[in-house]
Amino acid sequence: MTVNVRTALQIVAALIVAGLAAWLLPQYLELFTLINATVFVSMGLLALSLGLIWGFGGILCFGQTAFFGIGGYTYAVAAINFGDTTWAVPLALLVPTAVAAALGYLMFFGRISDVYMGVITLTTTLILFKFANSTAGDQWTIGTAPLGGFNGIPGTPPLNFPLDPSNQLAPEQVFVVAVLALGICYAVAKLILRTRFGRVAVAIKENELRAELLGYDVRLHKLGLFAIGGFMAGLAGILFANCVFVSPTMFSLSYAGQVIIWVLVGGIGTLVGPVIGCMLIQALTTYAGTLSAIDPNLLLGVLFMLAVVVVPKGLLPTATTILLRLMRRGEP
């Protein structure tokens, strides 16, 4: 099976799964579960965005939540001001992409190392967290949208049909949009990795010096991939804002840490892995939240350490290796 055929099959499979989920789940799940599922899907998209830039670009971004939060906040502020989400959405995709590009320019063209990059991106999201927390009070309004400090913007308007502000999407429809967005982003990410740009990005991740000596512009490719990651994280933020509401938590350290754990547990170097890891861990922390005996942060932290020490490759690659070995043993 050639690589192109396999990619095509994976894309078709992902779109079919997304289509089925979008069609069937709203019919069977209760509304509350469905809204929770929408949150999971938006988080899954966030995990996908980091899985793409970290697993295939080698870009160690500890603050992917920065673009997630910026996307959500831009959407909420623009939607409140415009009274219509038709133009709020593109704006909320443009702003995180632009911020990612600007930050990426400073980091990649400064040629700072991985470790510094991790620290700078983490610091960025932490400072945005502080900033968003400090925006309580009347002086902090953009247009007609109060930023609300610690409380965020509870009245984040839900998406409406394009150019028809009175016709808002029901939670079921938001779920459909979210699942399709995740499926399409997965397909787009797969396709990007098949293009010349994507293959160069992977080459840079494998050996930056070699790629550079072969004449590829390392800085520009990393910047491009980072901006795409910012775009997807922004989209995840819009979806999140639709089913919860925007608040400084979107930038918080515990969210920033969770995204890393999802990707790490799911498997670096895969695109499905992070999404699966996200769903599993979300389900686990939600369950732990109902127990209330164990602090979710404690659980996450222990999982995080175990993932690094015990399964450094992540669940999906480890499982694949074991499966392959078993299948080979089954053959005569």
């Binding site: 160690l60 500890f62 930050l103 400073l106 980091m107 063209f109 400064g110 040629r111 700072i112 991985d114 470790v115 510094y116 991790g118 620290v119 700078i120 983490l122 610091t123 960025t124 932490l126 400072i127 502080k130 900033f131 400090s134 350290l253 515990s254 840490g257 890393i260 754990i261 790490l264 164990i294 602090d295 979710p296 942060n297 404690l298 659980l299 996450l300 932290g301 222990v302 999982l303 995080f304 350490m305 175990l306 993932a307 690094v308 020490v309 450094p312």
Partner: protein, 288 residues
């Protein structure tokens, strides 16, 4: 005139605080190239040690200066043994594992002590500069930062232990060939770094108040300072603290504390664009 003196004092104490919270991290990163993302939580544990001890009626100065470095040093030794030791040479995995540790510490402490701010009142009262009051404890922090820096410098430069530590960091194999066990040097260095972080936590506890997530308030600043400082750990941290601490305090004065931190970050990122290897990657290269 009085106002200028007060502002100058504020800047100096802002710089001193930055030095205090960064030194533990600088030792661990500068000597071992280990990025300890649980540094903020080491500060937090130091703070809690000080609070608990003074709550038990221990003398305030012992609670601030003696017990936190001991307690956090022990915790650091355990962490090195259980976690860090498995990950030497894998810089990124170390970052991730210590991040997990940081979340676990936050969660654990929240379970034990609850998610509320506790504090101890700052000793030393205040004195007057013209129409203004200046807290005596601020000046004490300045003295403490100088003392801590001097102590690190003297240990590294003039004691056999410091010589062995510096040698091992430069070339672990050669040190091992000469009969120095690198494992033990790494373990002791990490413990010393943790103890410094604990001391920092104890020192800032009266100023900042103590709560499980207090580490997150300092970790960003501490990291940026150490990274902006660059390769020469002590000189770099001091120079970067001087620069970034001034920016932080001045912008805090002109606007709000949040914009002070934003300004700090922006200056640091632009500086790293110009000097990707930190300040001491370009200047003062031979310094310690």
């Amino acid at each position: 005139m009085d106002y200028a003196v007060v502002v100058a004092l504020q800047i100096v104490s802002g710089v001193a605080t930055l030095v205090i919270v960064s030194l533990g991290l600088a030792v661990v990163f500068g000597m071992m190239r280990v990025i300890n993302l649980a540094h903020g939580e080491f500060l937090m544990l130091g703070g809690y040690t000080a609070i608990l001890a003074s709550g038990q009626g221990v003398n305030l100065w012992i609670a601030i200066l003696v017990l936190p470095p001991i307690a956090v040093g022990i915790i650091g030794a355990v962490v090195e043994r259980v976690l860090i030791r498995r990950l030497y040479g894998r810089m990124i995995d170390t970052m991730l594992a210590t991040w997990g540790l940081s979340l676990a510490f936050i969660g654990g402490v929240t379970m034990l002590f609850g998610n509320s701010v506790t504090g101890i009142s700052a000793p030393l009262g205040s004195f007057e500069v013209g129409r203004f009051h200046v807290a005596g404890y601020d000046l004490f922090l300045v003295a403490a930062s100088v003392a801590m820096s001097l102590a690190i410098w003297i240990v590294l430069k003039f004691t056999p232990a410091g010589l062995i530590a510096r040698g091992t960091m430069q070339n672990a194999e050669m040190a091992a060939a000469l009969g120095v066990p690198p494992d033990r040097v790494y373990a002791l260095t990490f413990t010393a770094g943790a103890a410094l972080s604990g001391l920092a936590g104890g020192l800032i506890a009266p100023v900042s108040g103590v709560l499980p997530t207090m580490g997150t308030a300092y970790i960003a600043k501490a990291f940026i300072t150490v990274i902006t400082g660059g390769a020469a750990m002590l000189t770099g941290t001091l120079v970067a603290s001087g620069l970034l601490g001034s920016v932080l305090t001045i912008f805090t004065f002109l606007t709000t504390p949040v914009f002070g931190e934003v300004a700090l970050l922006v200056v640091a990122i632009v500086l790293l664009r110009l000097l990707p290897r930190g300040i001491t990657g370009r200047f003062l290269r031979r310094a310690l």
